[in-house]
Symmetry: C2
Subunit: 196 residues, 2 copies
């Protein structure tokens, strides 16, 4: 595939691919090792469990997480390539990557969810984070999305402002939501199932 093939990697790194097989047990090991320190969720484990976290309000916490993701993805083309690859390929490597990330991410989101019981924090943050991811990945192929430029700082400032706008509706907003929908969600989420 694209830029994450063994040949491409070995070439770009200027080494023979045999070495990758020997020292990283193939691309599986290489990918896992590299992603360990490149991916936000696995490299910012401190940020996720730190004491600073609990002092900031939930909205600001989510915002800084999103900002960090934008930063990390924005300046690392290879990381974007890998995350595109994760979207397409299904094997034990991608499964393991997803596993690690989901574990870290859930510990982060669950703590915030506990702080703001009046809304479905995981779902809302999922939309926002997934949106950021898609637009980051999409910037390779398309220069605009709904008219918003994806390859300029100005475009990403607009997007970040939009995220701020969405987050503003965090703590105080959902109190007006009908109790019916709230209760519906509560009962629904209580039947969450673990990864098979």
């Amino acid at each position: 595939m694209g830029g994450v093939g063994i040949n491409a990697i070995a070439n770009r790194a200027g080494v023979s691919k045999e070495l990758i097989y020997r020292y990283f047990d193939g691309m599986s090991g290489l990918m896992l090792a590299w992603m360990q320190e490149q991916d936000f969720w696995t490299s910012h484990r401190d940020f996720l469990a730190s004491g600073e976290s609990s002092q900031q309000p939930p909205g600001a916490l989510v915002l800084s997480m999103l900002r960090a993701q934008i930063e990390a993805l924005g300046k690392n083309e290879t990381l974007r390539e890998v995350r595109r690859w994760e979207l397409v390929e299904v094997n034990d490597v991608t499964a393991q990557l997803a596993n690690r990330r989901e574990k870290a991410a859930r510990s982060f989101i669950d703590r915030i969810d506990g702080l703001t019981p009046d809304m479905d924090v995981p779902a809302v943050v999922s939309i926002m984070l997934a949106g950021v991811l898609y637009l980051m990945l999409r910037s390779k192929t398309e220069s605009h999305f709904l008219g918003v430029p994806l390859r300029t700082n100005e475009g990403w400032e607009r997007l970040y402002a939009a995220l701020e706008h969405i987050v503003q509706a965090f703590p105080q907003d959902l109190k007006q939501e009908s109790l019916a929908t709230l209760e519906a969600r509560r009962t629904a989420t209580s039947s969450k199932s673990k990864e098979p």
Copy 2:
């Protein structure tokens, strides 16, 4: 690539690939023709410019667009595969697809943007739509995202509720919509089915 290669398509369709070259001018033509009627933005041209649009409040309009996208992607695995492919591949086909889509999408979003001058509608809707897209595409590889299940109706109901919640923060829109219609839509949508 994955399931959108010429060999795979010809095989799945039970025809020789030569025919695809002869009658569709290669995969370029086939892809363009097929996507013309599969993609939301190009097949719902009526919805985008219809009179019904201008009667609904902006928020409801966006929501129904998002709902339609979820529907379309949810029940069409091949469409998801193509949109994954669009994320990775850069050539004149993907460029043309992006062009068509962006044109239709902008005419939709610009009209809404005109109605609500107090916020950056394109940016906010970009986040939401991109989020939906990413989670749809991601459902192939990962079963959960931030703990939200991506392969069950229940998970997508939560996500749709999150979208509703975000849309509520639109300037003056959903306040006009009565809680009754809100409740009606909620119960109505909860009976639909999809299987990503």
